[in-house]
């Protein structure tokens, strides 16, 4: 059975606090972990920090759905685990904004599932970010328009 854990929180992500052993499973021999962090430059501007906003109930559902889709497509005859933690609130340069950890039987699927989840997260999860720059300005970043096919719309 696939296992999916999603948390969206203002709480700081400390990698040492994630219980990696609890995420492991005996049928999985591979893991791929992706960290997203706040970068100090974007489009030539010096970034001081990023503020994340999220529609949490829908984002949690969508991230579950994305994870389930990725596991099903890459593991039609096996199972794995996807663990996602995404920050909200104000982050400084270097802070972790998102962690995606994938556990699968073999390495190829772990890489593939992890890649799919982060790419789809950027297009489909109702999460937004505002950058604050050295010159004192701030700006909500442009993104991907949501459509109903992503959210099982009506």
């Amino acid at each position: 059975m696939n296992r999916i854990e999603v948390e969206i929180s203002e709480r700081e992500i400390r990698l040492s606090e994630i219980d990696w052993e609890a995420l492991q499973r005996p049928d999985c021999g591979a893991s791929d972990v992706f960290f997203g962090m706040v970068r100090n430059r974007n489009h030539g501007r010096e970034v001081l920090g990023v503020s994340y906003d999220a529609f949490e109930p829908l984002a949690r559902r969508e991230l579950h759905k994305i994870s389930e889709e990725a596991l099903r497509s890459e593991l039609p005859n096996a199972h794995g685990t996807v663990f996602i933690r995404h920050r909200t609130g104000n982050l400084k340069v270097g802070e972790v904004s998102v962690v995606i950890a994938v556990f699968t039987p073999h390495r190829a699927e772990a890489f593939q599932v992890c890649r799919k989840v982060i790419e789809e997260l950027k297009k489909r999860a109702p999460i937004w970010k505002k950058e604050t720059y050295r010159d004192g300005e701030s700006e909500w970043l442009q993104g991907h328009a949501l459509c109903s096919s992503h959210g099982g719309g009506v």
């Binding site: 999220a54 829908l58 995404h86 982060i118 997260l121 937004w128 909500w140 993104g143 949501l146 959210g151």
Partner: protein, 100 residues
Amino acid sequence: MSQTTELHLRVFGALRTVSDEKGFLRVPIDPAFGAKIQSGEGSVTELKESVRAYLKSHHPDFDSAMVEECAIADESTVLGPHARIDRLQGWAVLPPVCGG
């Protein structure tokens, strides 16, 4: 005395700059749209047009055209273009997303 009918919408991202401190927008709607909502026949297009018109009149410096790119959702679903608006509350206006 007639009372103005308003949509009570949650907003996110760039729309936070024009919302109240809890992230809501109160958008007055015209009586015809209000009647359609009451009968369960309001459309997503009408809702978005109401938001756009509100922003244009109350926040003229805000890029109201961005509403065209927004999706309408509740806590579990992004609405498709043919979904029906049947209540004044419980909807969210979602600008294009950029998490990660």
